[in-house]
Symmetry: C2
Subunit: 426 residues, 2 copies
């Protein structure tokens, strides 16, 4: 395995589309990699060209990859560090694979910047002011591409993306020649910034592909010996203590309706690992909840908004407001409502709208299993229980709402898996 | 025709379910009419009993009706005044038929309370503080049940319903023994108030039946020689002057997707006059728009809210807010947004959510014609154009958005028609 790292130190190209103007080293085929050909930074083109290369020996990228494969003398895997990134409308989700099987020799050969990244990420739980490692979600003792290690889950606000890219520049990330696999709308939005500021070329990946592959992978490895999936027992009674969370297995998960609630909402009908369609979506998701809640209550974070909502009135009076925000025309009535009630009304309104659309899709697609994911559900018991209730009640028990512990990270996991897959394909 | 009025003056029963504790007169079968039997106040039961009566001569209600029919000596029609009422979550919609063919003799025999109602309604365009007659919607020279007259369209806030009921009591409305046909959720909510305060028994009618029958009727008679229906030419360019309103005929209207946007939203797939299903709905409709807009901007009326929204920013910056209310976490950003932008964001968000749901339904039901009605669309060009745009754009021209001039009144018209139909059936 040292040969990979050795290669790295010598600055040779990596598998896919890395910008050759890198400052360290000059070996390999990196010099023309960003200008089309086999090293295009367009994901689809890349796949296309890779397939071509199999039949069409001798292109420069092909020769480059062949040389690297011979050097490593083993199954291909990408150079460390291994990341997967999902750049959403509100949050960037980052998964990082920390190898735990590093030999002394390997450690010795590890370049400083790589070591620094590993230590920085794994020895902290918060980064800068806003980055957070969700320690409780860490997946331990995974074996991936022959390496053993832990998968870390990190998030930070998308508005801090430029700071992240600048850090990548300052830490000379481009010298590591890792492929930076990224999905989400931000992979397009920030592509140019990655290129010009940090000399990094993104491998842009389809958001929905990543979501599904990431979800199926995490579900298959489980959550450190426990199931990844859960549902609510007695969903029809969401306020009572009978409504309890229960883990379950997502064995034979198809077909499922997959409802991804991030800033916006996407709803997919998934028939198999590779067969799915986007049924619909709505822009009224977590972004709307947070934006509206901030406007209505003056709160400034998702956590604050949810805390207020949890304290809001869920009684009849609260429900009247919650059901539609109706009857707020008189100043007197507006003034009689607490910020907590407004926060809850916002949460309930957004959640019910999503639930109602999801239910309609489930009925239309004749799918009974509705899996809700996305960071809107993070620390959001009000919404998870409400969705469980809505699915159960309005379908008279026909539909079942399922949830997953790694909520908003599946896109990033999918991007990470793609990094391994792309390399493995070569 | 004087015989009907004569009958009325003598206080005999009318056709359906009127409370017999009326203070004027004691003839006919009214005394037990509110306690079940043929005069039950439940619409379904009534129909059932009516059918029974045809084969089962001699029940008291039947005898009552037969006597009236013989008295009138002509085709049955209900006693004046003729009303249809739709009691929604925000607005009460009232249609009133003003007979224009009253003979001198008839006028002489007309009871004072009836005359007073007719004069009050037709000589004013505003009632109390909040009632409004939409004069521009008046349908002229209709012939209904052999009578010629004009149909008037009146609305007032549902929150003033008790005042309306009290007026009914003060004007001794119950002495007129008209059937009060009402639809909408409020027909249930206010039933008891009508009974106890004004001694009036509501004939409660199905909201969706009324909506469809009312719509088909108004479309069939047309709008005083003009078509009732319109669409937007060049919907893909809603901001330009090329996007213009054009009238059209709703000939052969089936199948249509009917999207009724009142306080909440109902979506129906209508396959024929009598064959339809409710596909879905959402509580995020006009009530949510108005409630949220009042909360966010301090406005107090729908008109004010729409005026603000029309002035709001529809440029890129405005659209960023509009698309989801996202990114409102910092006080600085919140403070940089005008009330007009917030109003527009609210309007656009609610409208797009409805458009998106409607489009999904249209695709699922394989219906290309999407008819939008309901009072949310009143004086609301922003939303109508946006819906026209959304249908056209997202379906690549496959779907067509249609609108109707009498927007929110079809339920009330349907209730009114039912008054005539029920009587005619006897």
């Amino acid at each position: 395995m040292d040969s990979i790292l050795h290669k790295l130190k010598n600055g040779s190209c990596n598998t896919l589309g890395f910008n050759g103007t890198s400052s360290s080293g000059s070996g390999g085929c990196s010099s023309n990699s960003s200008s089309g050909g086999g090293c295009s930074h367009n994901g689809i083109e890349n796949v296309h060209h890779l397939h071509e290369d199999v039949y069409n020996n001798g292109s420069p990228p092909k020769r480059c990859r062949l040389r690297r494969r011979m050097d490593s003398g083993k199954k291909n895997r990408p150079p460390f560090p291994w990341f997967g990134m999902d750049i959403g409308g509100t949050l960037v989700k980052l998964v990082y694979f920390e190898p735990k099987d590093i030999t002394a020799e390997e450690e010795q050969e590890e370049v400083e910047s790589l070591k620094s990244i590993r230590r920085y990420l794994t020895s902290n739980v918060a980064y800068s002011d806003t980055g957070i490692r969700d320690v409780h979600l860490e997946l331990k003792n995974l074996t991936m591409c022959g390496r053993k290690g832990n998968l870390h889950f990190i998030r930070f606000p998308t508005q801090d993306m430029l700071g992240f890219i600048q850090m990548g520049r300052d830490k000379n990330f481009s010298s590591l020649h890792t492929t930076l696999c990224a999905t989400g709308g931000g992979a397009y939005k920030f592509e140019e910034d990655f290129r010009t500021i940090a000399n990094l070329e993104l491998q842009k990946l389809d958001e929905l592909d990543c979501l599904i592959q990431g979800l199926l992978y995490v579900d298959s490895v489980g959550f450190n010996g426990h199931p990844e999936c859960y549902f609510f027992e007695n969903p029809s009674d969401p306020e009572s203590e009978n409504c309890v969370k229960r883990t379950c297995c997502l064995d034979n998960p198809f077909p499922m309706l997959l409802v991804n609630i991030g800033s916006g909402v996407s709803i997919l009908a998934v028939y198999s690992k590779d067969n799915y369609k986007r049924v619909t979506g709505t822009s009224l998701g977590g972004g709307t909840f947070l934006g509206l809640c901030c406007l209505l209550t003056g709160c400034e974070t998702f956590e604050e908004a949810l805390e207020m909502a949890a304290k809001g009135d869920s009684s009849k009076r609260g429900q009247t407001v919650a059901s539609s925000f109706g009857h707020m025309m008189s100043k007197e009535k507006r003034d009689s409502i607490s910020k907590e009630d407004l926060a809850r009304a916002t949460l309930v309104t957004i959640t019910n709208n999503i639930g109602s659309i999801a239910r309609m899709c489930a009925v239309n697609e004749k799918i009974e299993r509705v899996v809700f994911v996305g960071n809107f559900l993070r620390i959001n018991t009000v919404s998870t229980k409400l969705l469980a209730y809505a699915m159960d009640f309005w379908s008279k028990g026909q539909l079942k709402a399922l949830f997953l512990e790694h909520e908003g990270y599946f896109g990033a996991v999918g991007a990470f898996l793609e990094l391994l897959r792309i390399t493995d394909d070569l």
